[in-house]
């Protein structure tokens, strides 16, 4: 088991290094960042001075190593446009994005898995509805759902705030109220997607030979279902929830914009339109870290559940 954890963790770290290097070199292709900061009227001397100030006259590999060394210590550099430390900006924005994505994942997972189980066991109308909802949920763009929800619940019914975010520490009730519509927006498609996947995983286990053999021993159907079927359908369901979370991270950018949530999305979009390279790099690095961590967690969890891995 320890060997398994070590192998997966080290490959996650290598992945992180490679992706960070790729984005760093990609950002280096930016023609002349000084232009974006100083404006088109800047003279060649001013541009050269800016380049030297930003350290862009040094070779890219050396800069990457410096950046990486600093990043390991938690220093992601300074924004070219605001002069703020990138790690500070991310530190204030990340909790908002994680509040949204984690809550949404939790809601989708709980409802989706419950619905998927019912669909797999009962079949019939529930099963067909889950299938239709999953296809429809895939096609409806989240941003439209968000706009519609705002129109109905915030503008017409005035029961929930249309936009804005209240930190959890300030007021848990207002925090929850500010998240209801964004989470609901995500859940419309997310619940059906997870339900469909869970249903397929459970249906597959239900058809396994050993389930029939357990029944032939006189074990009650309920016990076979809640002990054996659930146990064997958990790894695929976990994988689906992990994928859903990673998908949400990208989707959150749009959702945050609709509901004016001050998360990573607004930071990234602002930095992107202003060619603020250190901030974009910081956001990419943090996002990749989150993705790699979630993948690693899912990997280790399914590994821990698989007796074949535990023995190796």
């Amino acid at each position: 088991m320890i060997g398994f954890i070590a192998r997966r963790s080290s490959s996650a770290v290598i992945l992180l290094l490679v992706v960070s290097a790729l984005t760093f070199f990609l950002m280096d292709l930016l023609p002349d960042p000084g232009q974006g900061i100083l404006g088109v009227s800047a003279t060649d001397e001013q541009l050269a001075a800016k380049r030297a100030e930003l350290g862009l006259d040094r070779p890219v590999v050396l800069r990457w190593l410096d950046w990486l060394g600093a990043a390991v210590r938690g220093d992601l550099g300074t924004s070219w446009t605001t002069g703020l430390r990138v790690s500070d900006s991310i530190g204030t924005k990340l909790p908002v994005t994680l509040s949204l994505t984690l809550t949404a994942t939790l809601v989708c997972a709980v409802l989706g898995i419950a619905l998927g189980l019912i669909a797999a066991i009962r079949r019939g109308a529930v099963d067909r509805s889950v299938h239709v909802l999953a296809v429809a949920g895939f096609a409806v763009p989240g941003l439209w759902v968000g706009i519609l929800l705002v129109t109905v619940f915030a503008v017409r019914l005035e029961v929930l705030p249309a936009t804005g975010y209240v930190p959890l520490a300030e007021s848990p009730v207002d925090w929850a109220r500010s998240l209801v519509l964004p989470v609901a927006t995500i859940a419309v498609a997310g619940v059906a997607a997870i339900a469909q996947q869970t249903r397929n995983a459970v249906a597959e286990v239900l058809e396994r030979d050993y389930i029939r053999t357990l029944r032939s021993r006189g074990l009650p159907a309920r016990r076979v279902l809640f002990v054996h079927v659930l146990r064997n359908a958990t790894p695929p369901a976990l994988t689906v929830v992990g994928l859903q979370f990673i998908g949400l991270l990208g989707g959150a950018l749009v959702i945050e914009q609709i509901f004016a949530l001050p998360g990573l999305g607004s930071l990234a979009i602002g930095a992107t339109s202003q060619s603020d390279v250190p901030t974009v790099q910081g956001v990419v690095l943090v996002s990749v870290c989150v993705v790699v961590t979630v993948n690693l967690a899912v990997d280790l969890a399914t590994g821990a559940l698989d007796p074949k891995v535990g023995m190796r």
Partner: protein, 667 residues
Amino acid sequence: MNDNPACSPAPAAVLAPASADPTPGPARSASPAPPTAPRRRGPLARFLRDPIALAAAVVLLLVVVTGACAGLIAEHGPNSAALDAVLADPSGDHPLGGDGSGRDVLSRLLYGSRTSLLAGSITTCVALLIGVPTGLAAGYVGGWWDTVVGWIADVFLAMPGIVVLLAVVAVHGPGLVVSMVVLGVLTAAPVFRLVRGEVRRVRGEPYVDAARVAGLSDVRIMRRHVLRVVRVPIITQASLIFGVAMIIESGIAFLGLGEPDRASWGSMLGDASTHVYDAALLSVWPGAAITLTVLAVTLLGAGLRDAFVGDTAGPVRRRPTIGRPAREPAAVGGPSTVGTDVLLAVDGLRVGYPTPEGEAAVVDAVSLHVGRGEILGLVGESGCGKTQTALAVLRLLPAGGTITGRVEFDGQDLATLSERGLNALRGRRIGYIPQDPMSNLDPSFRIGSQLTEPLRTHLGLSRDAARKRALELLDRVGITDPPRVFDAYPHQISGGMAQRVLIAGAVAGEPDLLIADEPTTALDVTVQAEILDLLRSLRREHDMGMVLVTHDLGVVADLCDRVAVMYAGEIVETALAADLFARPAHPYTAALLAAIPPAEGGAGERGPLRTIPDRVPSVRERPTGCRFAPRCAYAAPECAGHPEPTGHGAGAVRCARVGNEVIAWMR
């Protein structure tokens, strides 16, 4: 919101058929064929008969045409603004009104479809152009190429797609083509994985090996065999990528990071989102346009997949329902010779599964009985309904299976007994040994827990007593180190050991009746003999009755007292085992016996292996007369009628010509 390309495996499964029914009956076909026209249809014909796919194609065509002809239809340019049109209500000049900047909504909607379709096309093409060839190569060649490309795909899958796209926009500035090409590169990873997986699966198939042995070049094998298999999942995947790309394009435009001059449904939604208070209707047009188009693309993909998959479904013919009594004459069972105490009496059993053409009876009018301490062999080729009969007794048929007839066990009718009442009998009075040992143990639980669980919940033993009993059982079935196997997981023991574990589980409750479904098929010959010895001694110890399902006549000769021969869902002959081997009455039995290869070193020269021509007809192909007649060497005109069983010796035979002395002599 499903914006990350790494997430596309999720929607892929979304579009899988809603119910994968395990119906062993006729293959499910896309559209039920009329009973009189069993001809094959091409994918195109099947596609044209699928209303949803057709509707999706029409919608998509509409979007393409209106997009292409936007310049002709629209009265305004997509970017021409007029002050009096700002948030204007629908009117003759602006049929859908004006947006927040005074641009015509209808024009932008029409021009926006160009952007969406272009985005989808670019991304899909790039993803396929990269993913398919690399996946084919990695799956087919394997080796270092597979390792390297697989690792690169992992890197791409770990990237948060939208964030990377933002980085690209930051460097490059807004650009539809560049963004969508990058998205295509990112999305190539799941395509690569899908194709590689499919190719790996196909590579091991016998027909690919055969093609290779036949000397076909790798390129030709790829084109002729491998591509055919992967095209269906690729179609589905491509439609999903197309949809994801359109949604992501709208997201980028919505965020204001798209090309400012290009009309896009996403930027229309962006405009609408700033006017939720004063023009709530603005979001409806672009939102509905995206939804409908994505829906059309994905449903079209699903329809195409079904049309191609349907290739494998053969013709479906409705079998005429035969007005025959469900019950058999009692004579068919014949008198029992071992003990008079009848334990299990099956009478007129029919097992049916629902199909698009109505119910298909895989087992029909089966009657048999087993006495205490008696072993009944149930033999026949694969697909004759032996296993279905065995499972019907325990009422553990796959989903959809229905039972009619009587299944009397010790005075109770199992076919109508409550689930609760039946469950009380399972494991305690009726034991079951399954066919394939490795797939019948739950891989996630230790052997010990799987053995003690029923002992504790069902027989009410304490934890320690259950453990002690389980170890005894393991010892009894000939496992040399019971504590080690008790603590092992199924993947840590051999097939022979697993079969012993399953036998231990089946006899744990000391049942009166044991149903053994091919208990030795998956094992090698020496282990087979030991298992048969074990069954024999268990029978002796507990005076167990046994139904032994097998296609191995050697096992029958070794173990069984009586034999019932099944063919195409019905019993064609019952006899004492000794009589059956000495003097088979049914031509099918005779043919089965003749197909046994002569023993090694036996008398006589070794001629070619004798076989029965053709194969067992599937449920929908069964003849209305004698079901064996088409393969029978003695078929005669009277075989056109369906024969009823007639008494013969100590058993019964279902053959119209059983009295024919010449045939009897030939056998």
